[in-house]
Symmetry: D2
Subunit: 466 residues, 4 copies
């Protein structure tokens, strides 16, 4: 990258409601990350949002006093030319796709969790072909750029970039570890700077251990503290706050991430989800409303800072993690950030060439993963089943093989196997037809056999061509 | 072993209704396995059954014309002295324990499968301490004997013998592969002798591939045949006959064992189990009736052969597999038998020092496992989660650590995690109190907290002191 | 293969002096392996030998009373058409190449061992491109045939067929285990049939353990017996009989193969080789004379059986192993044969996808490798260094990369690293120029730099255009 | 550790000539590492040196203006009480032992390299039992202390502490990486701060790769630069400067450490060593003279700083690395230091539980190893053979098993196997009798068999009771 002229950042999915957080992160780090220009890229369907949020982004920069130009475009290739950093936060099919991902499983009484569950599987099916196209463009237009991915399912998408895209300069991000590190220290009367954190696992499926300023492990102390009253241990806002069984955590000697609730307290998470499904709507439906409100705010020509309301969304810290990662690469800061990167042995219970989410020091060469060492049986079993599930998903995403998709569904621990699971798979294929060209033959076969979506909300979306 | 004087066989749990099949197997192989004496060992509670079945066993031998003495004893150490082969078919807590294992999970709407599910976990908790005691006796009394285990969960019990008992001369058996090999060849118009089978996985959790007389793989042909009408592909009688999804089998290119239904068609297996639970009673209750009928038959002083009714039980072929294994060791036959043995790399997706169930050639040195090679992602994921679940179970069984038991429950793919699962765990601890000394402290704590069993049938058993 | 019409065998390098042993092996197994026709293929340079030995081969079959036609051809593709089994025993560059392989290293005072040493590396460089061509022909002309390789270095050549040729129906053979199994039992007063052998390692670099008729290990007894006077423990005739250090064998608890002398007694093997080099000539030169004598014998129109003199060559049993392997595949005999095959975990200290030499049961599906389990540190270290050396050799053989060739030389434990080793590498490239098109650029560079061969015998061969 | 009262450092082998460098390192870091007291411990034989160097150490501190007390003692247990950091730089048998380690191999024409060669093996035999005793004392007297080992062979000694001593708070150090990082940047016109280094391997047997300030790899640039005239690439002073073959380095794409010369240029290193052996004496003899000169200097009551002459010894930077490591732990600096620590997957070609030497970030929790990823075949082969050789050495060191010692010798790539190697082993056992109680029986057997040392210098040392 050319330091003299400043850094060129490209954000694919620039019309996202998260963009103001991203802008704020860049503005706060301008001294160490001298940005020259930012290109916000989106597709035709997102044009209106792109203009609203893009105009606001320019207002934020103008208010900052830094001379940074925010370009808005629907031409991805124009934007990518000579980029230094490409961040991806796009959502194929927009929030309507998420609503389908969630509602169809719930209509059969099962979880449709949008990152590692049935919803996440279909998000991967829609996203992986698109990101592989982006990578092909990058090879041509900005071969030295770093790809900072925070499109979910971040782990699978990042692994696909490395494995099927053969692109090594990629880092996958997650906001969950940030949340834990912000909240936990106070539970044992410490500051974050006093503590040493080590994370390992997969995206939305990691654990961590913690040591104090004397080098003594305090993981069990934090576990103890988590079960005292009124303690906030950093569970993301988008996850129902259902406590883990204390005996389990004490035995594992590690702290699971918030998303482990879907695996360790499946019964309760399902019940909670079903209740929302039947009343206020699924998370995607709630987020859609929040987003609409945010875009109303963003239209205000006087708003030139990130509004408080954005912080309340589940994805808080995501963009901040992205900015810190980019600044750490650019300025060789060697910051400790938890990222998805190539394993290389850091998690020895998984193959060396797969992607893992681990504590890493981020600098000029990207992520230097800290070797975490072997896990105990329970966590090892969980980790291995999830990684192999991810491999099934990726294979299905790139081949369009229905059998592999079915295998992913059957293996996924959130999905009880059987005819209902197969129905969910089939209905999701139908519902996402527009974004799943690789499965076209199978979808045609299902349609010919008369498969239709049962959930009325999803039926409506389909009827509207969404 | 002293060949001149013939072979001494000891059967722990000799009062089992399976004993006549075992006797028949030995009688049929007398030419290659010249038995001198058989010791049937049981405990006080099984004394009556032991006498009935033992007397009948002697009648069978007398009718065979071979001079073999069947000894009946409650003194295990007397029996073990100088044994050549020790077979284990005991059931700690008898069929009543199985009924508890099954009914308590069903009372919470979940599967209690008695080998790898919640029931199997508790069977392991009851059995592992006992088999480790048997191994200690063997070290002292018959240090050169082979231990042929067919007490379930056969895989975990066998691994515990190797790992915690430090006893290498052990082979675990399973009847499931025998059933598949007897039925499948006909589905593609072949004889078993024409085909080459390779099995790999874990006990009640293996897959196999098949080749024809030209060395060409016919696994997909068998899969095709399985979906034609009226085909009997060898599903054990004790497993509800719910077909696998064909697309899944085609993708994996392997044939799963019957027990995979609990993982691949969980919804339907659960529904079927719940129906039986609510009507005719669980499998354990059904077997209990069958057993009572069998013992009535066995009392007949004229019965000196294995009655047809025994064949209909789920465990058919088990004893035959045991006899063939013993004969293969004794006569160095190098027969192909599917057994649980030390991995040593045969299933490279699992650690070399764990136990696996694989195709092996059985001879003087025990089992020579055939290297199967790596599995594809879905099967690899399943295998690794199950083996790690087994490791949690074994650790809990030997330590009595409640956290480890809870981890095993949460990791087990048959058990939906959450409060109900924890309740099932707690009630099973209470219900099996008599046979779980290692968990005594936790059980006392649960009792003090007022935990009680909800299922009325199990309540009755407990009230009767069973 | 078409059983009705009998089996078609093709032997590449059919003009070899070993061919009569091969014929004898086939004649002895005619009942289980009904051969229809045998095609002996050779190249223009081997035409005379092919005719001599081919005519004799036909005499042997005629004398046997079986109606088998021996075809002689220089047209490999004609021969391969519809073959059932293809055996390879060719030697690129004939024995003159072996003489170069041996003499150039000795001229610098180092071993040039023709299978795993410097000579073996160059034999691999010459052979791998040729065998990959053969495989391409087979894919087209006999896609169902088995390739039975006994061209050395058998392990590397076989692995190259699997890995770079993507041909799975291949088995590599070695005569060394046969020799050990024939001689060792008598050292402890046993018959081979009493004993169970388990071999594991690499070609010309394996170890074995042995058990008796009671299943008790007798490896240490054989080790003890090996150090008694006048014991013949089956060292191949072509290996100088230098005893291993007894303390080493006792510690390892395994019996190394004869070729381990080059690694465990390097000093003495080198001294012995240097002495022969300076007096009677290297092994290759000796074999060349033996071969000339054999071909004189073969010319005798009355000779219709394998002459005694052939047995004395180092490669005895090689062809017999090949015949037994072919018969075991054809008749599904499940014979125990030690072969090079895909690891699949049988030797867990090496990657699952590489080739290993192990005890296997040979049948319709080829080799079923017996899982041997992990090795102790010393043997593990040896095995890993040798396998990685083999990988360097194979990479250099297919790419012609000089740096990789140099890495193989430096890593090879028989070759002391330094300038002399590099000189040996360079001179061997020059000396084998004709057969190393992949290294053409480097050879031209060396010639331009004035590199020449120093050994006078090799100079003579080059001067003669050999 | 109690921060208020300052840090207590204990140095075992405090009478070493390196102690002034250690003192200088501590003095320079006093601001971040507030030392309260330093205990220099030695044994009776080292008493005189301890007093000389200890007195000088106190002078250095006094001159620094910091109030630090240097205690001198022969009572290790008194010193260890409540220590915060224990550094080990002792040499069992002093330099005379090193002279024996070197001269006996040379007397048979082979290398006796004092860290990984024959000499290193015996240094491990002498050192491991002693360090395990120190660890036992530490468990009792300072259970929270960190052990910073720079006694050679540092890798094996550190691994023994972790594995046989079951002590995890240990870090092994090496000066070699420091030297490379100081010299290399200039060869490509860079500053060290511009570059990112990643090291991996074993002690005195590692490789590294380098990236520039843009994140682009510059390893090949450094390799190119190394072959220009007059370039100083940081080879330690104690290693004969024999260049690697450029083609080898280009192929591996990594830079080996200086000690790799003993493996990659064995011929020349041996020739050089033999020449010194026959003329100026081995390295140990040279160092002995240097040390005597140093101690003469140290006696000067006016010398209160590290003299220039010390820098010229081979071990320069060792003590500095130790001080930086201690300061990084104490002040949680997260400095990048290359250390021996538990692998945990950082070098995935080796077991997760062994010790490796890798780039690590050093802080309160000790070393956080950076995952390096898999190596290519040649380096993988070298690494695996060396690690397994190390395992043989450690097993022999703790058991005194002669067969294991012999296996280590035969496997060691620096030692040509055969009778001479065995003679070297036997003579070294005799020569070091006093320090090898674990081999007492074997030594007695060798003495009874009349084994004696041939080298006259070593004979003299033995005659003097040294």
């Amino acid at each position: 990258m050319s330091e003299k002229q400043g850094v060129k950042i490209v954000t694919i999915g620039g019309g996202s409601s998260y963009t103001p957080e991203l802008m704020e992160g860049f503005i706060n780090r301008y001294d160490e990350l001298p940005i020259r220009e930012i290109w916000l890229v989106d597709i035709e369907d997102g044009k209106e949002k792109l203009e609203i949020v893009g105009t606001m982004a320019q207002r934020m920069w103008d208010a900052s006093g830094h001379d940074v130009k925010v370009h808005l475009t629907l031409d991805r290739r124009e934007a990518l030319k000579d980029a230094d950093f490409v961040t991806t936060q796009f959502r194929v099919g927009l929030l309507n796709a998420r609503i389908k991902d969630e509602r169809i499983p719930f209509s059969y009484g099962m979880l449709g969790q949008e990152t590692n569950g049935a919803g996440g599987i279909f998000k991967a099916f829609r996203t992986i072909p698109v990101i592989l196209n982006i990578v092909e463009d990058m090879k041509e237009l900005c071969p030295n750029a770093w790809l900072i991915n925070f499109t979910n399912p971040s782990g699978m998408v990042t692994e696909a970039v490395m494995k099927y895209g053969q692109w090594d300069k990629v880092i996958g991000l997650c906001n969950v570890p940030v949340g834990a590190m912000l909240k936990e220290p106070a539970t044992i009367g410490k500051e974050l700077d006093d503590l040493t954190y080590k994370f390992a696992g997969l995206n939305h499926f990691h654990w961590h251990r913690v040591w104090d300023e004397n080098g003594d492990e305090v993981t069990q102390d934090i576990i103890e503290a988590m079960y005292k009253d009124d303690v906030d241990a950093g569970i993301p806002a988008n996850i129902h706050d259902m406590p883990f069984f204390k005996e389990q955590l004490v035995e594992m000697g590690m702290i699971p991430c918030g998303y482990h609730r879907y695996y360790y307290r499946q019964e309760e998470m399902l019940a909670h989800g079903i209740e929302e499904y039947n009343t206020i709507g699924t998370r995607g439906q709630q987020v859609k409303k929040t987003e609409e409100e945010l875009f109303e705010l963003y239209k205000d020509p006087n708003l030139n800072y990130k509004p408080e309301q954005l912080t309340k969304r589940g994805g808080a810290h995501y963009s901040d993690a992205a900015c810190e990662t980019i600044a750490s690469i650019y300025a060789n800061k060697n910051s400790h950030i938890v990222v998805t990167t190539k394993n290389n042995g850091a998690v020895p219970d998984l193959p060396a060439d797969c992607a893992v989410e681990v504590s890493a020091m981020i600098g000029k060469t990207g992520a230097k993963a800290i070797a975490f060492g072997p896990l105990k049986p329970a966590e090892k079993g969980w980790l291995q089943v999830m990684k192999n599930m991810e491999h099934c998903v990726q294979e299905a995403a790139v081949t369009g093989d229905y059998g592999k998709a079915l295998q992913a569904f059957i293996l996924n621990p959130q999905i009880p196997s059987g005819q209902s699971a197969k129905n969910v798979l089939d209905e999701l294929l139908i519902a996402h037809k527009k974004y799943l060209p690789q499965f076209a033959d199978k979808i045609a076969e299902l349609e010919a056999a008369g498969v239709t979506v049962k959930d009325p909300v999803v039926q409506d979306l389909i009827a509207q061509g969404l």
